[in-house]
Amino acid sequence: MSSFTVAALEAVADTIVQNKELLTSLDAAIGDADHGINMARGFEAVRVKIRAAAPGTDISGLLKLTGMTLISTVGGASGPLYGTAFMRAAAAAQGKATLDPDGITQIWSAALQGIKDRGKASRGEKTMLDAMEPAYEAFVEAVKAEKSLVESLDAACEAAKEGIEYTKTIIATKGRASYLGERSLGHQDPGATSSYLMLAALTEFCRSQQLGA
């Protein structure tokens, strides 16, 4: 499970690094043009740290390492936000040697709450929460309907994508983009986009491992 978790985190890191330019250009439109740079710097550091982690490090330990690394290397608001999310996820994963959909639900719920506690935002403020929260809800619903893990993750990705579209229709009231007021309309939120990308990478990773397909 440990090498599996490392591979899953690497898949997430890879997608962020590959999409550095996209995320930065989205942030150039309504922020300070650094979201991709910030996230890529953070996840490049994560990649190094998790590869160097002791072989026996458990799921919780790897998530914590990821969170601690993000809070000290990302640099923008997404650092403490995603960093807190991973640290809360680590706490929720403690004692878990494997992950089933219920376990993932608990961990995801803790991560989501971490983002809300840290950023004091709620849905509709044009942030990562507009992708993350509907995705989480779609996942929970699919699990409840006894869909497989990959099917449930697919449903979550779909909801996150809709969330990104939704951010184009609203005005930012949190973060840098809030300085733009109405001028933030029509643009998609960079953080909602990075949330979707991470989730999509995790989904593809699970599909490639034929997890609960």
Partner: protein
């Protein structure tokens, strides 16, 4: 004497504010700049902030002055990493970073307690410059 930490996205801004504040400070007063990232990039780093808080800590506590956005989020995160008994002696000032730091340093230099230094720092919000 209450210690002061200056958190900015820019190392130059944090250092510059510290430099200005030192002119008004007592020689033994602790004013720590926590600006930018370890690699020199612009940004805020919760680890750097938590180390700065530890460096600035005195029996009287620490006031953290912040600039924009993630400076607050990183400082909140730094507090969460810190030991509980240290955390209890830290306040984040909701104030303009430069004027607030000057006010806080002067208030701290006369030995005022934490809450009074905080109030003075936050009082900088109301200070008029052009009358």
């Amino acid at each position: 004497m209450v210690g002061i930490v200056v958190v900015s996205h820019s190392a130059k801004v944090a250092e510059g504010i510290r430099e200005l504040a030192l002119q008004m400070a007592k020689p033994e007063q602790k004013i720590i700049a926590a600006g930018g990232m370890a690699d020199g990039s612009i940004g805020t780093d919760a680890m750097r902030v938590s180390e700065a808080i530890v460096d600035a800590m005195t029996d009287a506590g620490v006031i953290v002055m912040v600039d924009l956005g993630s400076a607050v989020l990183s400082t909140d995160t730094a507090l969460e990493i810190l030991d509980e008994n240290l955390r209890a002696r830290v306040r984040i000032a909701d104030a303009p970073i430069l004027e607030g730091t000057i006010g806080a340093v002067v208030e701290a230099s006369v030995g005022s307690p934490l809450e009074q230094v905080l109030a003075t720092a936050e009082g900088a919000r109301e200070m008029r410059k052009c009358l």
